[in-house]
Amino acid sequence: MILDVSHVTVYRYDASMRSAVQSLRLFPSRFDGQRVIRWSVEVVGGMRGGSFRDGAGDKIESWSLRGPLQEVVIRVEGQVETVDLAGVLRGHRELAPPEAYLRETLATDADAAIRTLAEDAIEGISGDLEKAHALAGAVAEAIAYRPGVTHAHTTAAEALKLGEGVCQDHAHALIAAARHVGLPARYVSGYLFAGADGEPHEAAHAWAEVFVAGLGWVGFDPANGCCPDDRYIRLGSGLDARDAAPIRGLARGEGEESLDVTVALAAAQQ
């Protein structure tokens, strides 16, 4: 599939800011499931800083802006060709040891309920891949998709207790459950092309990857009850949503920040 991406992030400030720094993880991962045809990232009026690829294989680029600033606009435009690898992150070069993804974070801490959910889900199941599928299924069942009930700082445990949440909550819960049963797991941020009708849809998305011995990292999207396929574009990963955030920024000054994000994905006419 060939996907066109347009992703514009605008931070507005109610008072002018002295300066801003952005650390961007907004570049499609390099692996067999996706190929960049064209891609551009720009912070309007900013100065490009260093860029590098980190140990998890993600490209990170930093930008800085001098004040006075009323807003910071980050524009991503590009076209990516994707193929369906049934969630397997084949051909992805990275150095980070899978064991480093067994560490708990605040958002992915496994409380008693998550531990029970995980242990029940894998009972009688052998094989990492089968376990991961079972965990993803259990999480999808336990947390119904419902926008607006959770927020950016909701933890896996809180979402499970609520029984409702969005893709971030599903991913956190799956990560917490997988780590609890000894499977390395991580948070992935990216885009999902959800509209088969050819109309652009809101498309920023997140899912989880579980490390399966012999196979490597495999993506699971409990929110949609599937493994990532050619409708997905992978950007980067981390221990949790905060760690995997595509945009990290900080502006100096006294102004209050408000955020406006527009993401549109469309299947290109072939």
């Binding site: 300066s19 720094v21 650390s23 100065m47 490009r48 800083g49 260093g50 860029s51 590098f52 690829r53 980190d54 140990g55 998890a56 990170i60 680029e61 930093s62 800085s64 001098r66 990275e94 150095l95 980070a96 040891p97 064991e99 480093a100 067994l102 560490r103 221990l239 905060r242 990290r248 920024g249 900080l250 100096r252």
Partner: protein, 470 residues
């Protein structure tokens, strides 16, 4: 009854390194001693050196007691220590390069993956990044104790930002001022080259992108920090800027320092703040002490941070057990310095042994420092031991245990005159293009009679440390 090695007197004979100190000691009348002691204190106050040693906290304005009786090493004693310390510093850096690279030591089954990769000090953010010259820990503080003429043990390694070196320098300065004749009678190796060695070490690890004489800055959390004196002292001696996070900013892939003449590019940052505060974009988002964007500049090769973020995984107490293995694995050498035998309470059989032998063991928290949260079995009451037993049983992974070492003593001026008191030693090893070590280090002394805890927060003092020239 444990016997302790007295570094000055062995079987009523004065050991050779201390030969010339005997007359000095005997010829010092009580009044002169008190006068000198008061003079030393006044000098320390005037200098303003009033901070606590690394991680010990406590009142930052408190003066650490200075004991005028020097601690002395013969040249041959020191040479062996020096070789052992440099060997250890090389192995620790090789370990860091490895675990942020291919992790060969873990693949080879020499160290459990969990201890390394799930360690809180392991920074995933720097995996795959090679710092200049492959050096992560540029200043390695290795804490040693002595139990016999030729028997030394490493208590712990400090790979992040070991402090206390200003004491090493000031102790010497004050001794030379108060007792110049001692420095004529004894041929003592100088330590005052430390600052220049540190500057050269830092300059030698400037990023490849730096094509001129590197600009170095010391990054301090500020004057509320207990080691602020040392930060400004070292900046002064090296002739470099002392900066706080707010004095720095990133732009165009580099770090810049605000100066009265405009922005100046900084090539090497000797940071005295913890990893988690370095950069709110990468680590703790609430940190006001660091520099937003610093880690991106670092990882794209625009600046060197010393010690490197992530270096702390090498000095964790659970990793400590494996340092001799690192020496063999990376260097193919036998370790010159020994580790203290250590029981990991995380292992059930070792935990059992520890719980059965608490009255004779020292038990420490894995991540603790400064003599807090530790049990010294032989010096504790039954009630204290039982209270500690409950803590260990509650969270065994958090504790390690070691035998109570018979720490050596050196003569020390005390209320009643001169008496033996237990000491340790922290030399500072500098790792850059060269591996350098000034002869000596910081000797800490437990001033309370019988005490084995030398931490300043627990009644410890400091001494000048001599290495005699051949």
């Amino acid at each position: 009854m444990t016997t302790y090695f007295n570094e000055m007197f062995e079987n009523d004979q004065v050991r050779a390194p201390y030969a010339r100190l005997e007359d000095w000691m005997r010829a010092m009348p009580a009044e002169l001693r008190q006068m000198k002691q008061a003079e030393a204190e006044a000098l320390f106050r005037r200098i303003g050196i009033t901070f606590a040693v690394y991680g010990e906290g406590g009142d930052p304005d408190r003066l650490i007691p200075f004991d005028m009786f020097p601690r002395v090493f013969a040249q041959n004693e020191w040479r062996r220590l020096e070789r052992g310390i440099k060997q250890r510093a090389r192995a620790l850096n090789a370990f860091l390069t490895d675990v942020y690279g291919r992790g060969e030591i873990v693949r080879a089954g020499k160290i459990p993956a969990k201890l390394v990769y799930q360690n809180e000090a392991y920074e995933r953010a720097v995996v795959g990044f090679q710092p200049p010259r492959g050096i992560y820990s540029h200043i390695v503080g290795i804490d040693l104790v002595r139990t016999g003429p030729d028997q030394f043990y490493v208590l712990e390694d400090n790979c992040r930002t070991p402090s206390g070196v200003s004491y090493m320098l000031e102790n010497r300065e004050i001794m030379m001022r108060m007792f110049p004749q001692l420095f004529r009678e004894n041929r003592i190796e100088p330590v005052d080259g430390y600052a220049e060695l540190l500057r050269r070490t830092l300059a030698s690890v400037a990023p490849a992108k730096c094509d001129r004489d590197p600009t170095i800055a010391i990054l301090t959390p500020g004057h509320f920090n207990s080691a602020y004196y040392e930060h400004s002292f070292l900046a002064d001696l090296m002739g470099v800027e002392l900066v706080e996070g707010a004095d720095l900013f990133v732009e165009g892939g580099f770090v810049w320092m605000r100066t009265t003449r405009g922005p100046q590019k900084v090539d090497v940052i000797y940071r005295r703040i913890d990893d988690s505060f370095l950069d709110p974009l990468c680590f703790r988002p609430d940190s006001m002490l660091g520099v937003p964007g610093l880690m991106d500049v670092y990882r794209s090769g625009g600046v060197t941070i010393a010690s490197a973020p992530g270096a702390g995984v090498a000095d964790d107490k659970a990793i400590y057990t494996f340092v001799p293995e690192m020496v063999r694995f990376y260097l193919g050498e036998e370790p010159i310095l020994e580790n203290v035998p250590t029981w990991q309470c995380a292992k059930p059989d070792e935990l059992k042994y520890v719980l059965e032998h608490l009255p004779e063991l020292v038990v420490k928290e894995v991540h603790g420092s400064g003599g807090y949260g530790m049990l010294v079995g032989p010096k504790s009451t039954k009630a204290q031991i039982e209270a500690f037993r409950a803590k260990i049983e509650d969270d065994p992974d958090n504790y390690i245990a070691q035998p109570t070492l018979a720490l050596s003593t050196t003569p020390t001026f005390v209320e009643e005159g001169i008496a033996p008191r237990h000491v340790d030693l922290r030399p500072y090893c500098l790792v850059g293009e060269q591996i350098e070590l000034v002869p000596g280090g910081l000797t800490r002394v437990a001033l309370t009679e019988g005490s084995l805890v030398v931490n300043s927060s627990q009644g410890g003092g400091v001494k000048d440390t001599w290495v005699l020239a051949e």
